[in-house]
Each structure stands twice: as structure tokens, then as C-alpha cells.
């Protein structure tokens, strides 16, 4: 291959080649294998899925605005990936455990993570926002792919304890190139770990198209490692729910891991620090807006006799209130105490760190003393 063709590396989308239960137009497609996994999803349930997606989309937009206004240091928008995250997270049981990357805000929402908890890290006020055990969701991972191994180990432990709780590990398309993710596949298969690897193929790793990471649909990676791979329309919340439920069920039955590739798209920038115009076209963006996850659910609801306009408005209001809560919460996040910089480095007393802490406390005290003794600002 002529390396200068590398720009041409495509997005490996082929929408036809994946599990889809609801078309972008909102038609329900029959699927012999996956229908049974969502047989219980009536209009009400479908409405709840829509509600989740609409609210997280609104929260995400609000957080992006908060960053623009300087209330947050950074924000990685999930816009476009609502169905992939809501469909998979709503398939989870309360006692299942989640390991995620930095973008799974909708998953956090489903785990009960509150507004302040969600924004704390991005405001730079603390290095974690919630209690991982209360939310059954680990501290989000920034080192690409590392959490895939954590999910696998957690699942191995759960199995050894005889629990039928499953673990889900979220990562992106780019992450599949990291050794950690592939080693996670090896361990999970070797130990029949009850883990679901949920890969959101949003087509881009910052500026790199998925075709640069792989020429094969990512779900195909699974077979060679000895596990099933499911490729699903990541903008079809029903299909994602079905695929994730089937994979979780397999895990609970002790049959081992599954890799799910949710084909979706990051509509926004990689983070608020990114400018996607430098590496992708408006046409591509427009094409993906056509495949919107929310619109198709509304159409389906309408087809099933729901007053979708009314419902849409109702949910929009609710989302607006949630956004207002988010905005209110951000300023309520307390600034950390200077000396807390030393907290929790170790779980047990540590002579070296205690000495360093004392020294710094004395240093800070100098300024108070100085201030007290009338000098300004500095201790000098």
C-alpha cells in the first residue's frame, strides 16, 4: 500500500452488516435472534429509554456550555453516543459493575451518579466524583484501554466468589489497538470471565479514523480470541439493549466474555479542546445526523400511537430542569483544601509523606504569620 493513501482509510461502517431492530426511519425490524431479548420492552419502556437519551443529550450540551463559560476545565462530549450508552447501561443489573472511559456520562447517569458527582473531576476539584462501590461504577479511566483489564479481573473475582453478577468494560475504537485491551480478551477467554467488552466505535480516535486502527470490523476481533463478537447499530437503543442483555446473560451463565461493537458516531469534538474541522468533513457529520438515535425512537413511538410531540415536549422540559440542576450543582462543588493535596496517597501511615506534609504546612503557615505580622502576600 502506498502510505500516502492512508488518509483514505475509511470508517468501516457498512450499516447493513450489524444488528438493527429500529431503522433510522423508525421502523421496527424483526430479528430472529435478538427480538426475544427485548420482548418485554413496551411503549412505556421505550419511552423511558427515549427519556434517558434526551436528558443525557441535554446534560451533555449543558456541560459543554459550562466548559465554554469557564466553569469546567475540560469536557468530553458524548453527543451521538446516547443510544450506545443508554441501551447498554439499562441492560445492567444493579449489582453488575462498570469500568468505563472518560466519555460514559450516560452510563454514569444510569448508575445514579448525581450532577455534582459527574462534574467534580472535569472542574478539576478532585480526582474522582463518586463512590465507585455506591454507584457500582469505577473511577473513569483516562489511560486508553487499561480499564478492560480491570473489568476482566473484577469479573474473574466475582466468578470465583460464585456470584452471577456480570462486569462491563467500556472503551473506544482506538482502544482496540492498545495491548491492554487485547490482553484483556486473552485473560477473559482463558478464565471464562463473566465480562462484556463494550466497544463504542464512534469512528474516530481524536483525529484518527477507525480504519487506521483496523481494516476489519472490530467485532470480528472476538472470534480469534475465543469469544463471540456482536456488531450492533450503536444508534439503535433497542438493538444495543438486546445485544447487551444477551451478552450479560451469557456471562451470568458462566459461558464467558462477549465483545460488542456498537457502531456509532461522535457528533461533537473529541473534547472541548478539540477542533474536528481539522480532520473530518461536514458531509460526514450530516450523514450521521441522519442516523440520529432519538428521532427514530420518537417515530416508532408515534407509529405505536403515542402523542410523540407532546411526549417530546414533556421530556424536553424535564431535561431542561435536569440541565438547570447541573448548572446549579457546578458552583456548589467545593474547592479542595490546600493540605488535602497530601490525602489518600497511602492507606496506611507513611513516614516520608508525613514529614513532607509537615514541611508544607509550616511553609503555608509562614504566609499567615507574615500576613499577621503585616507583610503582604509573601512571607518575605
Amino acid at each position: 500500500m502506498n502510505p500516502s493513501d492512508r488518509d483514505a482509510t475509511g470508517l468501516l461502517t457498512r450499516p447493513d452488516e450489524f444488528v438493527q431492530l429500529v431503522t433510522p426511519a423508525g421502523e421496527r425490524r424483526a430479528d430472529a435472534e435478538y427480538d426475544r431479548w427485548v420482548a418485554d420492552v413496551d411503549t412505556a419502556a421505550l419511552g423511558r429509554l427515549y427519556r434517558d437519551m434526551a436528558i443525557v443529550r441535554r446534560l451533555d450540551a449543558e456541560a459543554t456550555a459550562l466548559q465554554r463559560q469557564g466553569e469546567l476545565g475540560l469536557w468530553p462530549p458524548l453527543a451521538g453516543q446516547e443510544a450506545a450508552q443508554i441501551g447498554s447501561a439499562r441492560a445492567l443489573r444493579d449489582d453488575d459493575f462498570v469500568f468505563s472511559s472518560y466519555r460514559e456520562h450516560a452510563v454514569a447517569w444510569c448508575r445514579g451518579v448525581g450532577p455534582a458527582e459527574l462534574l467534580t473531576v472535569w472542574r478539576g476539584s478532585a480526582s474522582s466524583g463518586w463512590d465507585p462501590f455506591e454507584r457500582r461504577m469505577a473511577v473513569p479511566q483516562i489511560i486508553i484501554g487499561a480499564q478492560a483489564l480491570h473489568a476482566t479481573g473484577y469479573a474473574m473475582g466475582a466468578a470465583w466468589e460464585g456470584s452471577d453478577a456480570a462486569t462491563i468494560g467500556y472503551f473506544g475504537d482506538g482502544a482496540t489497538s492498545e495491548g491492554d485491551v487485547n490482553e484483556a480478551f486473552v485473560f477473559a477467554a482463558s478464565f471464562d470471565a463473566p465480562v462484556v467488552f463494550f466497544c463504542q466505535n464512534n469512528q474516530w480516535a481524536i483525529s484518527e479514523p477507525v480504519g487506521l486502527q483496523s481494516k476489519q470490523p472490530l467485532a470480528r476481533r472476538a472470534d480469534g480470541f475465543g469469544m463471540p463478537g456482536i456488531r450492533v447499530d450503536g444508534n439503535d437503543v433497542l438493538a444495543v439493549l438486546a445485544a447487551t442483555r444477551s451478552a450479560l446473560d451469557r456471562a451470568r451463565r458462566g459461558e464467558g466474555p462477549t465483545l460488542i461493537e456498537a457502531v456509532t458516531y461522535r457528533l461533537g469534538p473529541h473534547t472541548t479542546a478539540d477542533d474536528p474541522k481539522r480532520y473530518r468533513t461536514d458531509e460526514e457529520l450530516a450523514e450521521w445526523r441522519e442516523r440520529d438515535a432519538l428521532a427514530r425512537v420518537l417515530s416508532l413511538l408515534a407509529a405505536s400511537g403515542v402523542d410523540s410531540d407532546g411526549f417530546e415536549r414533556e421530556v424536553a422540559d424535564e431535561a431542561g430542569r435536569a440541565a438547570a440542576e447541573l448548572r446549579a450543582a457546578v458552583t456548589g462543588i467545593p474547592d479542595p483544601e490546600p493540605m488535602s493535596v497530601f490525602d489518600h496517597v497511602y492507606a496506611e501511615p507513611n513516614s516520608h509523606l508525613e514529614r513532607q506534609r509537615d514541611h508544607y504546612a509550616r511553609y503555608l503557615a509562614m504566609f499567615d504569620d507574615a500576613a499577621a505580622s503585616g507583610a503582604e502576600g509573601s512571607a518575605r
Partner: protein, 336 residues
């Protein structure tokens, strides 16, 4: 002389290296089409093509491991690690392969690989984006480790690193990328100060203040502030962290009798430990006081809102100067 930012100087240096030697190839995540998240390689892919400026899959071990193979083939790979905190997945390839292959092959295989690392903090970034991992590499035989502190050095040193037949860890203080300075793009590398030589950036008589990278400017500011207090500080920009130019440091300490070292990395086993130990070995009878280290705390890098309580700054450096001068300081106590 042209005025340009630190980042632009690196870009110009890389461009010149690419133009000079067609075995030079740039590799990294997002360095091609995007020009790097800091735009250091901006425009270079368009100018030199996709097999000279290579967007790689998302895998640091993969980048370094393939760079080793390219070096075997006679290339001079220049690798960008997107942020300091992402170099660890490549640690094995760097420490067990890049650093050892020349020795292991009895000099038959050269590893002229340059590993560019935007490093250290001060930009309020998220976790893993503000690390100072340099000491891991100064402790690794077979590697050269350098850190640049200003546009002029950045422009020259990146070219020297690429031209070196030894592997070079090249640390760039990301918080200084936007600082402007004078760069002489016409100067020949031959006349340039060698990569291994330190710079005395401010001369003084009372205290030798040694640092590198992003803190060099802070150290200069400290020297100015101390002067107002009647303390004369000599500031040395190490530039090379392995090997360290002890000739320059020793000459200074023999005159001042006092050494303060400052860096953002933690104290335990940091570059300051090596410097303090070596200077004590070499200048014991000249020392008026024990060398003082002003460093980041021995903690994981804290959240953005706490980083100013982690990083050495003007006041903390001056407190260290007070310590080495035996004046009132945070440890001896302050006279109100």
C-alpha cells in the same frame, strides 16, 4: 533572528531535520492530519508526506517497538508521546530494547530514536497529563535525557537529538509552548552548544540554583527577586539530565558553596537527589550548607485546583534559597 513561540521553534527544527535527512521519520498519535494535539508537527505531513510524518494506531508500545525495527533498517524515528502520562505503556520497549540494543549488539545496531515528550504540569490538565517522568529515564543506562527551556534551545536541541546516534528522551515543558523567543534559523548546528552542555542563564555569587525545563523561567524570576533581598543567585539550566554537565555545576558551586535544585517531579529519587549526591561527592569541602531540594511532593499529580500546592513556584524556590542561606525559612521558622 526570528521571533517565534516555543512550539513553532520545535516545528521549525523538526522541519529542518526532515528536510536534511530523508531517513528521519516522525511517528505518533494524531501528529499527521491534525498536526498533534499541541500542533507541534503542524503542516509537516502535508509537506513531507504520510510516510515521513506518520499517524500511528493508538498504541505506545507499538510506536516504540516499530521505531526499533525502523532503526534496525537505518531510519531515525522521531516519536511523539502525546502526553507524559502515556509513555508508560512503552516503558518496556524503551528500557529493555531502545536503551539496551546498542550494548547488546556490541555496537552493531544503533538506536538513533528521539522520543519527544510534552511534560510536566501547570496547565490545569486532567489526570495523567502533567507527569514528570524524567528520572525513570535518567536511571536507565543507554539513554540520553534532555529538557529544553526556551525557543532558541528547542530549535537547536531537537535537531541535535535527532542527529544523535544514541536514543534521546526529549522533554518539552508544555506549559511554555506559547512563550515567544528569538530563534536563529540560519545558524549551523556545528557551531551550536553541544547537547550535553548546561547553560548558566544568570550569574551570581551566593547560591547556585539548578533546574531544567519549565522551571528555568521561574528560577530566573527567583534570582531577580532574591537580588532585591541582596542575595546573588547563579541560575543553571541543565539542558541535559543524563549525562549531567557536572563541570559547569561544580565550577559554580565551588564559588557559591551553596546548591539549590528544583524540579516538578517528586523528591524521592528525583534528578535532584542525583545532583545533590554527586555535587556533595565532588564539592564536599566547598559546601557551606547541605544542598537543598525544592520539588513537587511525593504524591500522584493532584487535581487541577490543587496543582499550585504541588508545583515549586517563586516563593517555594526562595524559601529553599533561605534554607541554604541559613536565613529564616519554613523549616527554621519565621521571625515575625
Amino acid at each position: 533572528m526570528t521571533t517565534m513561540t516555543f512550539g513553532k521553534a520545535l516545528n521549525a527544527g523538526l522541519r529542518r531535520a526532515l528536510a536534511t535527512d530523508d531517513k528521519v521519520v516522525l511517528m505518533g498519535e494524531d501528529i499527521g492530519t491534525l498536526g498533534g494535539v499541541f500542533r507541534i508537527t503542524d503542516g509537516l505531513k502535508a509537506e513531507f508526506g504520510a510516510n515521513r510524518v506518520v499517524d500511528t494506531p493508538l498504541s505506545e508500545a507499538g510506536i516504540l517497538g516499530t521505531a526499533v525495527g525502523l532503526a534496525y533498517r537505518g531510519f531515525r524515528p522521531v516519536v511523539e508521546i502525546q502526553f507524559d502520562g502515556f509513555i508508560y505503556p512503552a516503558f518496556d520497549q524503551i528500557v529493555a530494547q531502545v536503551a539496551k540494543l546498542h550494548y547488546r549488539s556490541r555496537g552493531m545496531v544503533r538506536m538513533p530514536i528521539t522520543i519527544r515528550v510534552p511534560f510536566a504540569g501547570g496547565i490545569g490538565a486532567a489526570e495523567h497529563h502533567s507527569e514528570s517522568p524524567e528520572a525513570y529515564f535518567t536511571h536507565t543506562a543507554g539513554l540520553r535525557v534532555v529538557a529544553c527551556s526556551n525557543p532558541a534551545d528547542a530549535y537547536v536541541m531537537i535537531q541535535q537529538a535527532i542527529a544523535s546516534d544514541d536514543p534521546v528522551l526529549f522533554f518539552e515543558p508544555k506549559r511554555r509552548y506559547h512563550v515567544k523567543g528569538e530563534v536563529d534559523e540560519t545558524a549551523s548546528l556545528a557551531d551550536a552548544k553541544p547537547l550535553g552542555v548546561a547553560s548558566v542563564v544568570a550569574s551570581g555569587t551566593d547560591v547556585t540554583l539548578v533546574t531544567y525545563g519549565g522551571l528555568v523561567q521561574t528560577a530566573r524570576d527567583a534570582a531577580v527577586a532574591a537580588a532585591e533581598d541582596g542575595i546573588s543567585i547563579e541560575v543553571i539550566d541543565l539542558r541535559s539530565l543524563a549525562p549531567i554537565d557536572y563541570a559547569t555545576v561544580e565550577a559554580s558551586v565551588r564559588r557559591t558553596g551553596r546548591l539549590v535544585v528544583t524540579h516538578e517531579a517528586g523528591q524521592q529519587g528525583g534528578v535532584g537527589a542525583e545532583l545533590a549526591a554527586s555535587v556533595t561527592e565532588r564539592c564536599f569541602e566547598f559546601l557551606e550548607a547541605a544542598p537543598v531540594r525544592v520539588t513537587g511532593h511525593d504524591i500522584p499529580y493532584p487535581p487541577a485546583k490543587l496543582e499550585r500546592h504541588h508545583l515549586p513556584d517563586l516563593d517555594r524556590i526562595l524559601d529553599g534559597v533561605d534554607r541554604v542561606m541559613g536565613r529564616p525559612n519554613s523549616l527554621s521558622g519565621v521571625e515575625a
